[in-house]
């Protein structure tokens, strides 16, 4: 109709280490919109797409541009936690409705939480907390924690300990390794000497590939079971090859999840982009869905902000990951799966935690 178009601002990295994540998120979100006829609450969509370069120092300037120059109605992004914090700090409160499709820092739906900020991905807490019982249930009591020594890694490790220690596990040693360095040899030797039952890790991207390969090459697979937050093996099958076989990780998604929504989504994504869907695509796809829900509820009237927010926070989404709801702090509540790499695929072993919530420490959302 004669209504102005809805402006969706996207701030995702398309260059650098996180580029792949950025493109998948964007493509999947656009796929969701396309499925809905490229209309939000009856209005045409206009995208304003900016490369965040995953650079924290630029985050404010770029967010500012989307908010004050482009006047976007929705803000989607980012991938990188620190960029996310700079972005959310500007957007929270009076800014546009913001949907975070990846950044995991606990603060985003913790101290920095706000009525207009949603997350469709996960909090670091959710990448660590369900790991404790999962490892214990597999029968491993003595565990070494290894992770990249930066915000996200530290939060994952802390959450892991929160469930693991009370349930009777022992942390033999914590080995934070410098981020984003990838020479692990000295640490692996230390690990070998410690002889734990298992090691729980947080690494991602190139570091994850390197870690898994070095771990296998050092012959440690025979005696120490390797666990980690899902990013350790997610989408890295081809690069890791045999080295990843048997590695167990927890994540709110697995390629092989057997539910209709997932099958449908994977095929559609493949058709639309030619690429294989992964967890990031799912998060983008759900971000699209969430925005659709909100706009549908107010029939495209972005002025009805409170109503839209209410609709979004009460949304129950039949996501490719399974059932997805949102907490008071607007963080996802979803199942966390324990997965194992078998023949290059992350196969679900069991559900590690049902309806995993996040404590949202410091969040003041009513």
């Amino acid at each position: 109709g004669g209504q102005a178009r809805v402006k969706v601002g996207i701030l995702l990295p398309y260059t650098g280490t996180y580029a792949k994540l950025g493109t998948n998120i964007r493509d999947a979100m656009k796929l969701r919109f396309a499925e809905a006829g490229n209309k939000l609450g009856g209005r045409e969509i206009e995208f304003v797409d900016i490369d965040s370069e995953a650079k924290p120092a630029k985050a404010q300037q770029l967010t500012d541009k989307l908010i004050r120059k482009e006047n976007v109605d929705f803000l989607v992004g980012p991938v990188h936690s620190v960029v996310g914090m700079a972005m959310v700090k500007m957007a929270r409160g009076k800014g546009p409705i913001t949907v975070i499709p990846n950044a995991g820092a606990d603060q985003l739906t913790g101290v920095l939480c706000a009525p207009n900020v949603f997350r469709t991905s996960f909090s670091s807490y959710q990448m660590g907390f369900p790991g404790g019982p999962a490892v214990l249930d597999d029968g491993h009591k003595r565990v070494v924690l290894m992770y990249w020594n930066y915000g996200f890694g530290k939060q994952v490790a802390a959450a892991f300990k929160k469930s693991f220690l009370p349930a009777g596990g022992t942390i033999v040693k914590e080995i934070p390794t410098p981020f984003p360095k990838v020479d692990f040899q000295a640490y692996l030797t230390e690990l070998a000497a410690l002889k734990p039952d298992a090691v729980y890790t947080f690494y991602a991207g190139g570091g994850a590939v390197k870690f898994v390969k070095d771990f296998a090459a050092a012959g440690l697979k025979k005696s120490i079971k390797l666990y980690g937050a899902g990013f350790l093996t997610e989408g890295l099958g081809a690069a890791q090859g045999d080295a990843a076989e048997g590695v167990r990780t927890i994540l709110h998604y697995a390629d092989t999840l057997d539910n209709p929504a997932n099958h449908r989504f994977r095929k559609a994504f493949k058709d639309a982009t030619g690429a294989r869907a992964d967890v990031y695509a799912v998060q983008g796809y759900d971000a699209g869905e969430l925005i659709l829900r909100g706009m549908a509820a107010v029939k495209g009237d972005t002025g009805a902000r409170a109503e839209m927010i209410r609709a979004m926070e009460s949304a129950e989404i039949d996501s490719p990951r399974g059932k997805l709801r949102f907490s008071k702090s607007h963080n996802p509540i979803h199942d966390i799966y324990l997965r194992e790499v078998v023949q290059g695929e992350n196969r679900v072993v069991r559900v590690a935690a049902r309806d995993q919530d996040d404590p949202a420490t410091g969040c003041s959302n009513a």
Partner: protein
């Protein structure tokens, strides 16, 4: 000739800057504030690389320290008094004193590398230190105000006020440096850049001059960092990393604008920020364009973009003999 160009262009540019908030939208006022802050930083770097011949790859650390000093001191405060906060940028001066004292013992490539080492150490210290927020950085939820009694005279919460404050800092910094460079001190540091060994033989204890120059530059960088922290309400270690936004871009700004002049880095800051704002709207692979532009300037405009200006203005007076080729970027002395 250069004098008339400068004496006309500078006030004109300043006038435009002063009037800008009356016409520009608040987004652009914000963007311009960032540019001004970056210009201060670049100018301070130019004092080192363009005048003293100290190529410091660790300069971004002082920018970061300026911001961190503010953030650490006022992390939990609800009002930030400007007169309490501003002296904090002296933390950068202190850091520069220590780093400089050690670094100036080396020269050339080794100086580049030892300053890089210090820069990296500061970066990792803040990146990994749990005390100061690690890689997450620190947020500030208020902007500084200047109060007398209970009366607020200068409230930087206001975008335009902040803009004028930053502009004031830039102009003050510019005038201060211009004065220093004309003074005996300036003569010595330019000579040090030209031939350090000879300066020493002439009876100057060059290390003191280098150190003072290093500290002045560090302080100014700290001031810029302070402003950036106050303006964005957010500091994080990536300001100090050598590559992402720190030193490599700063060097690009200085050289693109015109090294060894004070206005060069200011122009450079405008060029770089505006390019980075504009190019991404053309293509997803905009860095290709940006890289291409940087390379072209490096190859074909060795004295930076500002060297174009007098050339354009002097087209009328074609008889003026060209000075010899600018291979090593000979500078105009600070005063003719």
């Amino acid at each position: 000739m250069a004098v008339t160009t400068r004496s006309l262009t500078l006030p004109a540019a300043l006038l435009i800057l002063v009037l800008f908030p009356l016409f520009g939208s608040s987004f652009y006022v914000g963007l311009l504030t960032r540019i001004l802050i970056l210009a201060i930083f670049a100018m301070s770097l130019d004092l080192l690389i363009g005048y003293t011949g100290l190529v410091s790859f660790g300069h971004a650390a002082f920018f970061g320290i300026g911001g961190y000093a503010l953030a650490i001191a006022f992390q939990d405060a609800t009002t930030i008094h400007l007169w309490q906060a501003l002296p904090l940028s002296l933390a950068a001066a202190l850091a520069a004193l220590v780093v400089g004292w050690i670094s100036i013992r080396t020269s050339g490539i080794y100086f580049i590398m030892i300053t890089l080492a210090f820069g990296q150490m500061f970066f990792y210290y803040f990146f990994e230190s749990p005390r100061y927020g690690g890689d997450d950085g620190i947020f500030l939820f208020f902007k500084p105000v200047l109060m007398i009694g209970t009366e607020s005279i200068l409230n930087l919460e206001n975008e335009n006020t902040f803009y004028y404050f930053a502009l004031g800092c830039l102009v003050t910094g510019y005038l201060l440096l211009a004065m220093i460079l004309r003074a005996p001190f300036g003569k010595v540091i330019t000579a040090i850049k030209a031939n350090e060994h000879r300066v020493r033989a002439l009876g100057y204890s060059i290390n003191r001059y280098k150190l003072v120059s290093f500290v002045i530059a560090g302080t100014l960088a700290g001031l810029a960092g302070f402003l950036e922290g106050a303006h964005s309400g957010y500091v994080n270690p990536s300001y100090m990393s050598w590559h992402s936004s720190g030193i490599a871009i700063a060097i690009a700004i200085v050289v693109l604008g015109g090294m060894g002049t004070l206005y060069g880095p200011i122009v450079g800051a405008f060029i770089v920020v505006l390019l980075q704002d504009f190019l991404p709207s053309l293509t997803e692979h905009w860095q290709l364009l940006f890289g291409g532009i940087v390379i072209s300037v490096a190859l074909f405009l060795p004295r930076g973009a500002t060297s174009l200006l007098p050339r354009i203005l002097s087209r009328r007076q074609t008889t003026r003999p060209d000075s010899p080729p600018p291979e090593d970027g000979p500078r105009e002395p600070a005063d003719g």
